[in-house]
């Protein structure tokens, strides 16, 4: 357990000291969302209608930007070999990495999403669904992204490749995340959509680190 926290706190420390990397991902999220009102023109009804999709799609794209460096740096400086020798199963290493990734990119996006939703004139009833959906959905994205990042270690053009691999897997998250917000905005029950997201999260927490661990083992050979 101590080693798990050590890996996680190392990643968090790195993220804090290299604050620019973290800020870039989050700024990308903000800038792209703000582009939509500018592109569409300030018609409040129209904006409110596309707000769920804009927030979720942009969050996914912003997350994709951060995955290619998740293991690449460690693989280049030999840190990954050290992690493999630490005696900790690689799946647990992957879980620690995913958790650190979520804390540094998922969590800021959960905080920012409601603020950005105001600029998109999202229906006030929908904020609960937006926040709950992000709380349940962004960890899934981090976990899937960890699998993708482990797969592309050492690849050419890893950044594009990881998006190509991970984005299709995140389509269900996008679907149920936006469905929940739409349902809430129209006064419909959101429970079923949030339950689907919870089920996906419950499946992803044990399975995605296993897959990422297997991918890391292949990368280390």
């Amino acid at each position: 357990m101590g080693r798990f926290w050590a890996i996680m706190s190392r990643d968090l420390t790195l993220a804090r000291r290299q604050g620019a990397d973290l800020a870039m991902t989050v700024s990308f999220f903000v800038v792209v969302v703000v582009l939509f009102p500018l592109g569409l023109g300030p018609t409040p009804g129209q904006l409110a209608e596309i707000a769920p999709a804009v927030l979720w799609v942009t969050a996914l794209l912003a997350a994709m930007l951060s995955f290619d460096r998740l293991f690449q740096q460690d693989a280049e400086d030999g840190g990954l070999d050290q992690l493999a020798l630490s005696g900790l199963p690689l799946a647990v290493v992957a879980l620690a990495k995913a958790l650190a990734h979520w804390l540094t990119t998922g969590l800021p996006m959960i905080v920012l999403a409601p603020l950005l939703a105001i600029t998109l004139n999202l229906n006030t009833e929908a904020y609960g669904a937006l926040i709950l959906g992000f709380v349940l959905g962004t960890p899934i994205v981090s976990l899937f992204g960890t699998v993708g990042a482990a797969l592309v270690v050492g690849a050419r053009r890893a950044g594009v490749l990881v998006a190509l691999i991970v984005l299709p897997l995140t389509i269900p998250v996008l679907i149920f995340g936006t469905l929940a917000i739409d349902a809430a905005a129209n006064g419909l029950p959101i429970r079923v959509h949030l339950l689907m997201l919870s089920a996906m999260l419950a499946a992803a927490i044990p399975l995605a680190p296993l897959a990422a661990g297997a991918a890391l083992r292949q990368a280390l050979e």
């Binding site: 490749l161 190509l164 691999i165 299709p168 897997l169 679907i175 897959a211 292949q218």
Partner: protein, 239 residues
């Protein structure tokens, strides 16, 4: 299985089987298309459009079986490190992607007159589209490394991750209320399809799977040749 992991033995067997399988493919497609397009009756509701089904449904079956084959080959490669399993996986993904594309396009052509739209975002169509993206991702990943063996291993892990999508595709029509009709051939209480339509459908399915086999053999053979060529080039450079 280990017996056929030897590339030379595989090539001997494949070369012996290929003409027969090729002939079978041609015959099955000839008979199947004649049955499906000429002999079988038009549907009382769909009219002549029902004939698209004979091209569409077997393509979808082949697309799913292709992914299953890809996953089995990937698993075999990861566990036993058979080089031939790696080649089978590399061969399967473009072929599977091709069948998936056929299923998607013929489905759209059928949907336009029947549903009044080329495409709907229902669960079945979306999950098959994800299958298509998974094939594309696999193809991109296996070729993304300078060390081709590293690409094979990464691709194998990705192929196994994507297996999650197979039950979702199969049961999407039962779990969600979709525009796509539920299963009518593979169901617990027996097939729900008229005999004169079932026969051509099964012949066409046989034709698609035979074609799948032919394409697999051709691609594995060319991949083997490419690998040998690369080894020879390296050997020449070293001397």
């Amino acid at each position: 299985m280990h017996r056929f992991a030897n590339p030379t033995r595989f090539l001997r067997l494949a070369n012996a089987v290929l003409p027969w399988l090729g002939g079978l493919t041609v015959i099955l497609f000839g008979v199947g298309l004649y049955q499906a397009l000429v002999i079988s009756p038009a549907d009382y509701q769909q009219g002549e459009t029902v004939r698209i089904m004979y091209v569409h449904v077997p393509a979808a079956w082949a697309a799913l079986s292709g992914y299953t084959a890809l996953a089995i080959a990937s698993f075999t490669f990861l566990v036993w490190r058979h080089p031939l399993a790696d080649l089978a996986a590399r061969a399967a993904s473009p072929i599977g992607a091709g069948f998936t594309a056929i299923a998607l396009v013929t489905g759209a052509l059928w949907g336009q007159p029947m549903w009044g739209t080329w495409w709907v975002w229902d669960a079945r169509l979306t999950s098959v589209l994800i299958l298509f993206f998974l094939y594309l991702g696999h193809m991109a990943l296996v070729n993304a490394f300078d060390d081709s063996d590293r690409g094979s291993r990464a691709g194998a892990v990705l192929a196994l991750v994507g297996v999650v999508n197979l039950p979702i595709i199969k049961f999407s029509v039962d779990w969600w209320n979709t525009l796509h009709q539920p299963a009518s051939v593979l169901r617990m209480d027996g097939p729900k399809i008229a005999g004169e339509m079932m026969t051509p459908l099964m012949i066409m399915a046989g034709a698609y799977f035979a074609l799948f086999g032919v394409l697999m053999i051709l691609r594995i053979r060319s991949l083997l040749a490419a690998r040998r060529l690369r080894q020879l080039r390296l050997a020449v450079q070293e001397t």
